[in-house]
Symmetry: C2
Subunit: 350 residues, 2 copies
DNA sequence: TTGAAAGCGCTAACAT
DNA sequence: ATGTTAGCGCTTTCAA
């Protein structure tokens, strides 16, 4: 067995309580005793038993994170940022990748609740507020990431998705595009918001609103969305006249769109401009460097960690907070028809 | 507070023990009692307290994973695969991203040990076996992933790195390249192995061995290695004559190499062929589709999970096992000078 | 088939 | 400044 407080206490002829106090920097300990205990702890490489500590304090000093897909850079970046942030405060991160499966997500959340994580961070694959009923019942505080649920008054950290749709579409209009299509994502808040922003931008001009043309990615299990984007683009290419710009729900689908356009023998951006969403790593190294809306995933991670730590310690349950990141567009060749002041000078590679 | 066994027991006029037995499917329980208890548990949404259970059983039903960088698709894929594999068995995954920092790694490992994870999976940023002394002392079994440490008899799951270097270099030779350079990685087993394979391949021909030319990526903190690859390529381009092929330690550095070559006004692969390592997602969508050695990260994750689960339950400590994945080359335009039978038919996008 | 007693390793409240 | 007592929620052992 591992070394226990009892062992150290016995060796040093002290009580367990004294040893415990030393461990937690209790003030009522003489310098001498403290030194003796600390020394022996070092020598024996003592590690306190968290299970025992958790049992009595009710805290687990761990934070749970559920994401739809850990491989997706957006979520990986969030996870990484959270990990870095909480580790300095002695917290651990329990991560679970739900594979975009609501069933799995539900089950994993139960797991994490049973393990008494101090806070739960969820980038949910579900969309109905009913799904969160069970969570509301629990006393574990939780934060929704990226995707929120209508009618659920809860902590939320994500991107202003309407703004995403707005700046992407506005950018395309500025580039002279007039038949701008949108490939929308599944029925989650992010897709709805981006669609809404797209529509707002189309309606914004002085004259009559630009025509809207929306197709759906479908909710296939293919997380990369490359295939979905390809299929959706094929549909758009067969319309007459075909669009002169496509704003895509995410970068993977945009890559599929690029492929479809190239196969059709059309040029990007001359015939059709393309804008994605997420600012994929190495977007600047692609065959057609991809214009994309950056969602600041690192910021989301940092903010989430900060809020999580606050919730973890606060005994009372503070009023839910919403935090919206403002997205930024990163303009690259896939949409650059003329020089605009919007062009980011040092097109970030992240 | 959450519902406890005691509450259920009292309500149903049973003892805690009986409830506990029902929970764990103990056979000595009458069908009727079992049903009653199970029903009430459902109604109250009872979640057993893992801390209490762990304290007494000594198992935490959790597995720890330490990776250098969660954002790197290679490690993200491993994490995802492990997560999927262990979740079905009721285990949780504690992930920590060490940022390639040995200090952080050490600290995180201590954390995980203190939390009594049942198994520890480590893709280590360290290279000396001395670093693992403290772990040897602990009773927690651990598995090294991807990078192993010489002289440490331990569980290991990774790629046959010599084979990686061999097939990459052989491929370049087959393509007619004769001045093949290698940009090697930092002093870890993976970099050493690939270098070794590179050398073996150069020596393999009938005539006298092809000349070797090796530069180092340097151990900069830049995980993407894009900058490092660029710098290393610049060095190679200034040699006279410059190489006609470059085999890179990883894909990010290969991207930097591509950039350097293009800036120098040379063609890929006509003037210089490039091969990377890791088979980055969307490698086929790059400006220069990148030939790369796939390391089967998903397999590594699955194997790691399987072995981890075995170690988690076995009371005795089985003899350490090593498991080497055989890498596969995915040939794309960056190295394709002539048609070869090596060209994978359906150039996988994963 | 059920339950009483003991205790996992630690912390909190209260002596001394 | 140090120790005593009690108990966190559960499992294990053994008795009924």
């Amino acid at each position: 067995m591992a070394v226990r407080m009892k062992d150290i206490a016995k060796e040093l002829d002290l009580s367990v309580v004294t040893v415990s106090k030393v461990l937690r920097n209790h003030p009522d300990i003489s310098e001498e005793t403290r030194k003796r205990v600390l020394k022996r702890m070092k020598e024996l490489d003592y590690q306190p038993n968290f299970a025992a500590r958790s049992l009595i304090t009710g805290h687990s000093w761990s934070i749970g994170l559920v994401v739809p897909d850990l491989l997706h850079p957006f979520f990986a970046q969030i996870a990484k940022a959270i990990s870095a942030e909480i580790r300095t405060r002695g917290y651990c991160l329990l991560i679970s990748s739900s594979d975009e499966d609501p069933q799995v997500e539900e089950q994993e959340i139960r797991q994490l609740v049973a393990r008494r994580v101090d806070v739960l961070l969820i980038a949910s694959a579900r969309s109905s507020s009913a799904d969160f009923k069970s969570l509301e019942g629990q006393e574990v505080p939780y934060i929704l990431l990226d995707r929120h649920v209508d009618g659920l008054k809860t902590n939320f950290i994500g991107v202003n998705d309407v703004e995403v749709g707005l700046i992407a579409t506005r950018h395309l209009i500025e580039q002279g595009c007039r038949r701008i299509a949108h490939i929308r994502g599944p029925e989650v808040s992010t897709a709805r918001g981006r669609l809404e922003g797209y529509r707002q931008a189309l309606a914004e001009g002085k004259g009559r609103p630009l025509p809207e043309q929306v197709v759906s990615l479908g909710s296939s299990g293919d997380h990369r969305g490359e295939k979905g984007g390809y299929a959706a683009a094929m549909e758009l290419l067969h319309s007459n006249p075909h669009p002169d710009a496509i704003f895509c729900f995410n970068d993977p689908s945009a890559l599929g769109v690029v492929r479809a356009i190239e196969e059709a023998g059309l040029r990007i951006p001359a015939d059709i401009a393309v804008v994605g969403c997420g600012n994929l790593p190495y977007g600047d190294m692609l065959r057609v460097p991809l214009t994309s809306v950056d969602q600041g995933s690192e910021n989301i991670g940092r903010l989430a960690a900060t809020l999580a730590l606050r919730l973890a310690v606060s005994k009372s349950r503070p009023a839910p907070k919403s935090h919206l990141i403002t997205p930024k567009i990163v303009v690259r060749a896939s949409s650059l028809r003329k020089n605009t002041k919007n062009l980011s000078k040092n097109s970030p590679m992240k």
